[in-house]
Subunit: 350 residues, 2 copies
């Protein structure tokens, strides 16, 4: 029998950052698809929409009026999943029924006053203003004694549950550390204690040496398809310097983050010539007052599409009950993304 | 300040079966929805479809012809994610890049020759034949030395990635134990070692005493919305007797499983008067030759819909990067499901 070949044979890969496995089935990418087709995002919006509750000057559901903001704008979510004033308490019956009150703050961040833009269509200085707001929010929220973790994220596209195409992201900040960053914390701490360097420092060095999963780089950040990627075109944005959070980024590094976000999202849009849907978010140290030298700032991009603008990957049956599964290899995806232009298809066509 | 009230205040619940947390936001169920609407499943199919690759007598993509089967029919998936003959081997670079070959078998099970039926529209004796086939497959696959775990599941509905409406399920059987059952194994073993009873024995007793999350029962099975349910109308089917796998079920218990599956799926269809989408599957002991007295057979139902036939729950941004989150409480969902008729809406209308 031939020897094991990861470009051909089914295998499992270990996510060293989260401690979980993913099943990879490289041979399966040719299977025909007769299932659900997604509707590509409607993508010729006006610069201002009088019915949009995020556009400058408009009213929100709660009755409040947005200012005539010119760059970014942040406010408390009118329907936040978390609330600040929650009585402490909980339930514990024999360890079988266990619950505890949770408090926190949900914020909404408008990236731009322009209803018709998305990150890849914004300028680097404009994205830099989003980065600055993230820094400011992380700092202010994280300084509160009742907030021990701050999750900054964006859901882009209807297929990712986004209910308003106006470019915006969210922040959920809360008392406890959620499962995903908690698991990453455990893995990073174990590595740091053993090697005295952050896990992502060594992982990044290895990937930069191999090159096959690297998508793009600038002076301060690298984008790669992680070895253990679950989603077809999942990527990881890693800072070269092992900083624990965005507050620690220098001004140059913030510019570099804006630059890399623009270039990555342009490539995504150019993959299928559509406004590319994804969920993305920063993972950073808990804001529990500890230093957390094991933590290494990074940003995950989880895009659902698989083969085209209309065929997505479904994480269903086996994935919900067993392990996540993917068809194309991370190396194949990195190669596709690497080959794409950094001129947005809408501008290239002009 | 008022004291903590789980019907009103945001809180986290602990999933004692998997060891994970879910964020519950009861106050949030009233938020308006302007996002994606699902298309309800087309639901007036012919009893036989000449273009369906699962109907009796038709040809499949691989060229093989289905027999003119009269009850159930099982075959190897023509595009399985797993393969039997995989060279052993793997990758390990500094613990950072880790992969290992995985082998296994993917099977497809047709529940009925009738293209137009689904489980809730089948008779109990017909569903019993599906249960019998599950038993037979679990036994045969599990007896193989190269198979240490057998995952039986069904993806129902386009929104759950199902590409063919012909009633069918799948089995993925493999060398290693995937993450979900592995985590449940750890939790169940710890409980069993401490109490000498299975975790689900005690959990079931507690739920039967409280009644608020129980949806329906028969002599051998109970359906409940687990205290830690993630999906809006998620349910757990638990056997009253602590059996480790379906092979151990008596003939009466197999009938009872068929009965409870029919009654549960009828209630699901009656919730929004549509063919209700879900992913569902059995969790059972690993087939690694050990006895696993800690394991307690159960079946998860994960349905995506939230408010209506067209509005689903999205597990995106925060859920992918933090923790799963739900809006309505499990108690509210159990109450809704409990109030529904067990006469299928299509028959009731006749
Ligand atoms: O095997 P199917 O029905 O073609 O595919 C479906 O179920 C599989 C197992 O849950 C998933 O991996 C696929 O993403 C999904 O589309
Ligand atoms: O807050 P939104 O945009 O209304 O809602 C969206 O993002 C949330 C956070 O990821 C999810 O909980 C919701 O299911 C999703 O629809």
């Amino acid at each position: 029998m031939a020897s094991f070949d990861s470009t051909e044979h089914p295998h499992r890969r270990f996510n060293v950052l989260s401690g979980e496995w993913v099943l990879v089935s490289p041979h399966r990418s040719k299977r025909p698809w007769q299932g659900q087709q997604e509707e590509p995002e409607q993508d010729n919006r006006p610069a201002y929409d009088p019915t949009c509750y995020l556009c400058p000057g408009n009213s929100r559901v709660g009755g409040e009026q947005n200012p005539k903001y010119e760059d970014t704008f942040v406010f408390n979510n009118d329907f936040g999943a978390l609330q600040v004033d929650v009585p402490t308490g909980g339930i514990n019956e024999g360890g079988l029924l266990r619950a505890e009150a949770e408090s926190g703050i949900c914020r909404v961040i408008c990236f731009s006053p322009r209803h018709d833009l998305t990150l890849p269509q914004m300028t680097v200085p404009a994205i830099r203003k989003v980065v600055d707001l993230w820094v400011q929010e992380f700092e202010t929220l994280g300084a509160r004694p009742d907030i021990n973790y701050v999750q900054i994220f964006e859901n882009k596209g209807q297929v990712m549950g986004c209910s308003n195409p106006h470019p915006h992201g969210q922040i959920w900040a809360q008392r406890t550390v959620p499962g995903e960053p908690a698991a990453e914390g455990v893995q990073q701490l174990a590595y740091f204690q053993e090697h005295g360097r952050t896990l992502l420092t060594d992982y990044l060095a290895l990937e930069l040496e191999k090159k096959e999963r690297v998508v793009l780089e600038n002076e301060h950040f690298v984008v790669l398809v992680p070895f253990w990627a679950v989603w077809p075109f999942e990527t990881l944005v890693v800072s070269r310097r092992p900083v624990q959070d965005i507050i620690q980024l220098t001004s140059d590094e913030r510019d570099a983050l804006a630059d890399i976000l623009r270039r990555l999202t342009i490539r995504y849009d150019n993959l299928f010539n559509i406004s590319f849907p994804y969920s993305a978010g920063l993972h950073q140290r808990p804001t529990d007052g500890q230093e957390h030298p094991e933590w290494h700032l990074h940003m995950h991009f989880y895009p659902p599409l698989l083969r085209s603008a209309t065929v997505r990957k479904f994480m269903v049956g086996y994935e919900m009950l067993g392990d996540p599964q993917r068809d194309i290899t991370p190396e194949f995806s990195a190669d596709r993304l690497r080959g794409l232009s950094e001129v947005h298809y809408k501008e290239a066509g002009e």
